[in-house]
């Protein structure tokens, strides 16, 4: 990850714009072509490769990030539109020593198999728990309904998010298969 606050995505020219985007709490000043997608700015410009490109056609949700706290598909927004806004990616969720409850839940409940959809799943889950700290199973399934997983059949993903909700509220998370 670059520690430079200015990242030249492309050479400054008449075709580019200088924007300031707060990514995971750090303001980043970048020069972007208007047609650059937010996901490309994150992955290529800012070397934050935790955000995955799945379908690239607004279907799968693998590229989900938070935009001012709301889950959005970063393949379906222009980077230039993020000017003046806050973006949170999976890298902003927690650290290896201090995981976000959502990350811990995916770990504890094995909410993944191949892992490709996981960053998007976790960001959508984070947005849900920020808004609804005590979701029902149906709330979780509804909130994740735009995120496709081709491996798990979703059971453990849902359990992981419910585990995270319990943990975050300070309740004793239910043990595996106890639900």
């Amino acid at each position: 990850m670059s520690f430079s606050k200015t990242v030249e995505i492309t050479e400054t020219s008449a075709d580019t714009r200088r924007i300031t985007v707060t990514v995971n709490g750090t303001p980043r000043v970048v020069e972007v072509e208007p047609r650059l997608l937010l996901v490309h700015l994150l992955r290529e410009g800012l070397a934050l490769r935790g955000t995955h490109i799945g379908c690239d056609t607004t279907n799968c949700g693998a590229c989900t990030v938070l935009h001012d706290g709301n889950p959005i598909k970063s393949c379906t927004m222009l980077a230039v539109q993020a000017d003046g806004h806050e973006i949170t990616t999976v890298e902003g969720l927690g650290t290896p020593s201090e995981l976000d409850p959502v990350q811990e839940g995916f770990h504890r409940e094995h909410g993944l198999q191949c892992g490709f959809c996981t960053p998007g799943m976790m960001m959508a889950a984070r947005a849900l728990l920020d808004r609804e700290p005590d979701p029902s199973e149906e709330d979780v399934r509804w909130a994740l309904s735009g995120n496709l997983c081709r491996c798990t059949g979703y059971q453990n993903i849902v359990k992981a998010v419910l585990w995270a909700a319990d943990k975050q509220r300070g309740a004793q998370p239910a043990e595996e298969d106890a639900r």
């Binding site: 047609r35 650059l36 997608l37 607004t58 989900t64 959005i72 379906t76 222009l78 309904s145 735009g146």
Partner: protein, 288 residues
């Protein structure tokens, strides 16, 4: 996928927006939520010279009700705002039913009702809803605002009635003439897929009779279908088994579905009739 190159402007006022549209006319494309436009840019189905991003224009994100009961939904009012609106949940059953069925949660975070209607996809949900409610779009251009009835707004698949230099300022639902009931029903293969069939049913009741009715169909024709004959048989009398059956039959006849991977013509017509029956079953007023 990268869109083709385009110039980009982000006006900061309605006047700046109108000036840009006046200067660039048909070469400019308005970007609101971008959930239809950005995919089209990426696939290069659209390659405008100029993208005019209206997200920084103040005064376009309203969701308000006038004292007379007219509902106004601004060009930047997102699906999620409608989905979570207490006003819609209390007073606008068709809109409240439709809002959570649009696309998926991430698309609803960004996308807008007005943008979806402007996109004029025959499979878009909001056009049917606004049509069933007897609503209109307010276009704004160099000569001010003008209303365009929803029945006139979609002129073909992916074509709307806005003139060069105009943008869609807001969607408007007229005040009710009776107690509102109705719903929006949608058959989709999975969340986020386009509607195989969608049906908007809107009723207004007064004195034990239906005083206004609207039925509109999603995804079963080259554009949103206004099933006016089906709605008309309901007006002026109480709901009865007989009128419900007539409406279901007329709506199925109004549909112009094509057979595709989502189903046969017969199947889609059958779903239209079933949805009209179900929608009207929810249309009874519990206590007047």
């Amino acid at each position: 996928m990268y869109p083709a190159k385009f110039a980009y402007e982000a006006p900061r006022s309605i006047q700046e927006l109108l000036d840009l549209l006046a200067r660039h006319g048909d070469d400019a494309k308005v970007l609101a939520g971008g959930q239809s436009l950005v995919p089209m840019l990426k696939l290069r189905f659209a390659a405008p010279e100029l993208v005019v991003d209206i997200n920084g224009v103040p005064g376009l994100d309203h969701l308000t009700e006038d004292p007379d009961g007219t509902l106004r939904v601004g060009a930047l009012c997102r699906h999620v705002t409608l989905e979570r609106s207490a006003l819609l949940a209390a007073e606008y059953p068709v809109m409240a039913a439709a809002a959570p069925l649009v696309a998926d949660p991430m698309v609803r975070s960004r996308g807008t009702m007005v943008g979806s209607i402007c996109h004029a996809d025959p499979q878009g949900d909001w056009a049917s809803v606004l049509m069933a409610l007897g609503g209109h779009i307010v276009a704004m251009g160099p000569r001010g605002k003008r209303p365009i009835a929803m029945t006139d707004f979609v002129v073909g698949p992916f074509q709307n009635a806005l003139q060069p230099g105009e943008f869609a300022y807001e969607a408007v639902v007229p005040p009710p003439v009776g107690q509102r009931t109705g719903t929006y029903l949608k058959l989709e293969r999975r969340v986020g897929d386009f509607a195989t069939v969608g049906v908007a049913v809107s009723l207004e009741h007064s004195g034990g009779r239906v005083v206004r009715a609207g039925i509109a169909l999603t995804g079963v024709g080259p554009a949103t279908i206004n099933a006016a004959d089906a709605a008309d048989v309901l007006v002026g009398k109480p709901l009865s088994e007989e009128t419900v059956e007539q409406a279901a039959r007329l709506a199925a006849e109004a549909a112009q579905p094509q057979a595709d991977h989502r189903g046969s013509v017969e199947y889609k017509r059958h779903v239209v009739a079933t949805f009209v029956r179900r929608g009207l079953a929810r249309g009874e007023v519990v206590a007047a």
